[in-house]
Amino acid sequence: MQSMSRTSFLAVNYPNLQGLKQIPLGLALLLVTLWANGQNLAHSLYLPLLFMVGSFALLIPIYRYYDHLFGRVTRRLTSVGLEIAAGGICALLVSAAFWMEITFKLPFSPLGLAMTIFLLFVSLRMWRRLSRVFVTGLCSSALMAIVSILPVLGIPNWWSAVGMKNHILGVTLVYSLIMIVSGILSHIYFAYSLSSAPEAVNE
């Protein structure tokens, strides 16, 4: 049996630790980034829309997988409300950062820094005495921050080394890969943290 603090942590973060749910979102962002990198943006948006719809369609079997194998936890309204508010603020921040990125020629990526703040918020939400999830989140934030300011650190045009046309595509590529990898790691942590339940069927 686990410690009470661990039980409480897992209960509160039960839906958040189900990391496979963020893979379709990361995949959608990755495919759209690769499409934008290869195409003249004046062309039809049919393909990126298809990527997004297809990736989001993956969410259905993933949600069913978690419900069927791990059951469902409904969080308290206060924690959900706080997350929605924080998510709204992050969305505004990302939108403002995107506008700054395309309007001004800056030596760093405001969008990348906004994504860094979002990743920090996500990892702080699951802070628990340096848990593996929290540490992974911190590392992701650090990587995102570094990638955003690489030109300032003396490595201009780093994005061309990974085949990207510009800084904005470079940071979205890195962010999409972080989403996919951290999603997989989060799922592994989730699956192995929960106690084995040999008679695990819903009654």
């Binding site: 049996m1 009470m4 039980t7 059951g71 308290r76 008679e199 819903n202």
Partner: protein
């Protein structure tokens, strides 16, 4: 005046039993959970969990709602306000006993 060890022996055994304490701790942190999620969170076997949930329901500390989701049976478990007060009070008692135990002198 009772000493800390007498107070420890006097703890409410309904909630102090480790499996039930684990169940109540999990439920106090969230709005509700289904049976399967509680199984994973507590590490209990199905029969064991059912027994403990029945005891907690008799005490009025949780509610169990049986429903069907996609034609499959599903039991939704929620802590009641009485149950929430009981677990919070229990943790306060344990914290108080911990402090008393540190200060205890024979």
């Amino acid at each position: 005046m009772s000493n800390v060890f007498e107070d420890l022996a006097g703890l409410d055994k309904l909630i102090h039993e480790p499996a039930r304490l684990s169940i109540m701790t999990a439920l106090a942190s969230i709005k509700s959970a289904d049976f399967l999620a509680l199984l994973h969170l507590t590490g209990l076997t199905g029969g064991n969990l059912s027994t403990h949930l029945s005891k907690l329901e008799e005490a009025g500390w949780i509610t169990q709602e049986k429903q069907f989701i996609s034609k499959k049976p599903n039991t939704l478990i929620q802590i009641t306000e009485k149950g929430r007060a009981a677990i919070e009070n229990h943790w306060k008692q344990l914290e108080s006993l911990r402090r008393d135990a540190q200060e205890w002198k024979p």
